[in-house]
Amino acid sequence: MQVIENSKVKETLYLEKLENGLTVMVIPKKGMKKKYMIWGTNYGSNENVFIVPGENTKTEVPNGIAHFLEHKLFEQENGTNSLDTLTALGVDANAFTTNDMTAYLFGCTDNFYPAMDELMDYVQNPYFTDENVEKEKGIIGQEIMMYDDSPDWKVYLNTMQILYHNHPVKIDVVGTIDSISKIDKEILYKCYHTFYNLSNMAIAVCGDFEPEKMLEEIKKRLKENKVEGNIQTFYPEEPDTIVKEKIEQKMEVSRPMYTIGIKVKPTDNPEEMVKRDIAIQILLELLVGKSSRLYKELYNKGIVFGGIGANYEFSENYAHVLISGQSNEPEQVYSKVKEEINRQKQEGISEADFQRIKKKLYGEYVKDYDDVESIANMFLANYFMGINSFEYLNQIDAIDVEYLTQVLNDVFKEEKMVISIVKN
């Protein structure tokens, strides 16, 4: 296996790309009682148009299908449900779907190998019937309605609606009651056979393990894999512009919730992705973080309470900054954020502030290495973007004020900004 050490956090990644295309990552954690495994496919709600290997024409599938497939994969031909089987072993099993990936996982102290048998069996053996597909529509329908009652989720989704014209990142991962009604077993199999190819998948394991032995255990449990060649997926063309600047929705909330979005031109260069991510995190701290001038002003005036949430989301084909919170005067927050960005651009970034925030961020990256579950999840999600998570600890030293200034000017553009508000 390839051995990648990081001297800063004193952790090691063991990585192997098998001949059948599957990538295996093991991050040993001596002394931890919890063991964790996650198996993901580089396939999420965004992959809606693709060519099934062996066919010539494009297939377009209903929104929410990757998530639907995630629910159904637990179903077994003998009538059992793998979630039940795993739970009966005393392990904590789950699965999730994002815009970019789908993953199946469990964490436990005992019964790791029997649980691994089950996980690796069900992910490789789909069993869909008309009946079991129909019944899931009721359950997912209630999941959709649960999100409908969540103002935080609505304010986020609406931001996506006005940032993006066509890109599927604007579509709710779970789909709609209408879109999922069009899902049937044939189409689920099609998606499965296209995207659940080992060459499109990766496993991350974290816990007190011997890496080489773990690799052998994984290999033993793999079925023969037909290498299908490249999966062709298609994204609609997305203009650089925003759709419109403002969106509002009425919901019963105590006070308005807002999300400010900034559309960013994506990059598919992994090194640049990491550097830019670090730079944007530093800039967001400088602009709206707890020690920032703007936060102090807004807090003292009672315009914001609690913190201002800020993060950067990206893949190879979309990227945006989100700044969010609750305020009686969201419009005021919006114009103040714009002003603050301009002020930073004009006055320049202070070296002392930058050094202090860099220390903070460094500490936060180190803290990412204490929990087996978050370590494995982080390595897996980053891997699908071509990123080795250790790079964050290495690249942070390469960031300087000059680079920050460049990112500030390239990313924080007024004409790329939108605001979404949910209020009474």
Partner: protein, 420 residues
């Protein structure tokens, strides 16, 4: 992991969790006081005012900058209900010096000084808290209290608890009440603060790769030496005092109905509560549970369908998000599961599986520092001295018969439904 506890002064305990598994050190300070209608709002507000500035670091900005300099030490505070007590919790987490670029820094010592300074050496002006901070935090607290409608699922659960414990300490909202705020000012809040600090139970936890020195750093800190001994005033026993409410239906602008069923377990002893944990796991505590299987997987009425056991108060709360028109159907299914539990319609295997799940979660207690701290604080509060191994052993002994006995004691107290 090595756990030691000692009393620094009467009523003030230092708990040290020594472990080399983590990259960080976590310091937690808990102030425990009686949950009372008269003081609940002021206590919550005190915690909000303290983090605005201390006598040394006078503004939030100074505090934040100091934390950033300490490699992103994270400072956090919260308000919890633990049985019939209100607990003001303060945390600071720092990177262990081993993982820092410069080796001569002693982040932990500074962090301890900072957190003690924030809690015990507040910014005082004219014999009161800083007026500006108190007024701003009153406004923030009002927003926070009103904000509880924003999370509908949590709101429905809180409302069910309020109904069951009307007029009782546990029925109080942990952040207090908007109508109290108008009578609070910087002077009387400071008076309440002094009283709280004199009387409350204080528990200080330090977890991480720490040596003996840390105990001295704390014991010799001036903010600690200034504290008086005390016979701490808090509720050691939790009253059994629910009020039967029957059915309570409320409306709000929601798409989905939120159903909460509050159960009284009526355990006869602390020891019996281990049996209840198994009962709850089989009833609604896992994907194999009766509620998940019957309400979600068979009837497809819900995505979320589960139950939780509140050990201190000996209640179980069942939660489901359902189509509003399915209220009766879901409720009948839930009642049927409770009956089935009574009639012993569950297998030995289900009991064994539930034990496995609980034992697995007990074993991971010391894989997370905050979980360990919560565990040892729970031991401290319940006067229970079970080690993790004894805990596992006790769970292992639960039999199907024990679980059936629990089932016979369980009664529905309140059915709460939030609908449109």
């Amino acid at each position: 992991m090595n756990y030691t506890k000692k009393e620094i002064k009467k009523g003030i305990k230092l708990h040290i969790l020594n472990t080399d598994k983590f990259k960080t050190n976590l310091v937690a300070i808990f102030l425990t006081t009686k949950l009372e209608r008269e003081t609940v709002t002021a206590n919550a507000l005190i915690s909000a005012v303290l983090r605005r500035g201390s006598n040394t670091l006078k503004t939030q900005e100074e505090i934040s900058k100091q934390l950033e300099e300490l490699y992103g030490a994270s400072f956090d505070c919260g308000i919890d209900k633990t049985g019939d007590n209100q607990v003001l919790k303060f945390y600071i987490e720092t990177v262990n010096d081993t993982f820092l670029p410069q080796t001569n820094e002693t982040i932990l010592k500074k962090a301890i000084e900072n957190i003690l300074d924030i809690i015990l050496n507040p910014l005082i002006e004219d014999n009161g808290f800083k007026k500006e901070y108190v007024e701003q935090e009153k406004n923030n607290m009002k927003q926070r209290i009103e904000g509880r409608v924003d999370n509908k699922r949590r709101y429905a659960l809180d409302r069910c608890i309020e109904e069951m414990y009307q007029g009782k300490p546990f029925g109080l909202y942990r952040f207090g009440y908007v109508e109290d705020l108008k009578d609070i000012n910087e002077k009387n809040l400071y008076e309440r603060y002094k009283q709280l600090i004199e009387q409350c139970k204080i528990d200080i936890f330090v977890s991480g790769n720490v040596n003996e020195e840390v105990a001295n750093i704390i014991a010799e800190n001036q903010n600690i030496t200034n504290l008086e001994e005390r016979e701490p005033i808090y509720n050691q026993e939790s009253e059994k005092n629910t009020v039967k409410q029957g059915e309570k239906i409320e409306t709000m602008d929601v798409m989905q109905g939120k159903l909460v069923v509050g159960l009284d377990v009526n355990s006869q002893s602390e020891d019996e509560k281990y049996n209840v944990m198994i009962y709850n796991t089989i009833l609604g505590g896992s994907a194999n549970s009766k509620i998940f299987q019957n309400v979600r997987e068979k009837a497809n009425l819900a995505y979320e369908a589960s139950s939780r056991y509140f050990k201190y108060k000996d209640n179980i709360f069942i939660n489901c998000g359902i189509e509003i028109s399915n209220y009766e159907k879901a409720l009948n299914l839930i009642k049927k599961q409770l009956e089935d539990m009574k009639n012993g319609n569950f297998t030995e295997e289900e009991v064994e599986n539930a034990k496995k799940a609980i034992i697995s979660s007990i074993k991971t207690i010391d894989d997370e520092q905050d979980t360990s701290i919560t565990y040892y604080f729970g031991q401290e509060m319940s006067g229970n001295q079970k080690s993790v191994d004894e805990y596992i052993e006790r769970i292992g002994k639960v039999t199907k018969d024990d679980v059936e006995q629990v089932a016979h004691k369980v009664e529905i107290n309140t059915i709460y439904f939030l609908r449109n």
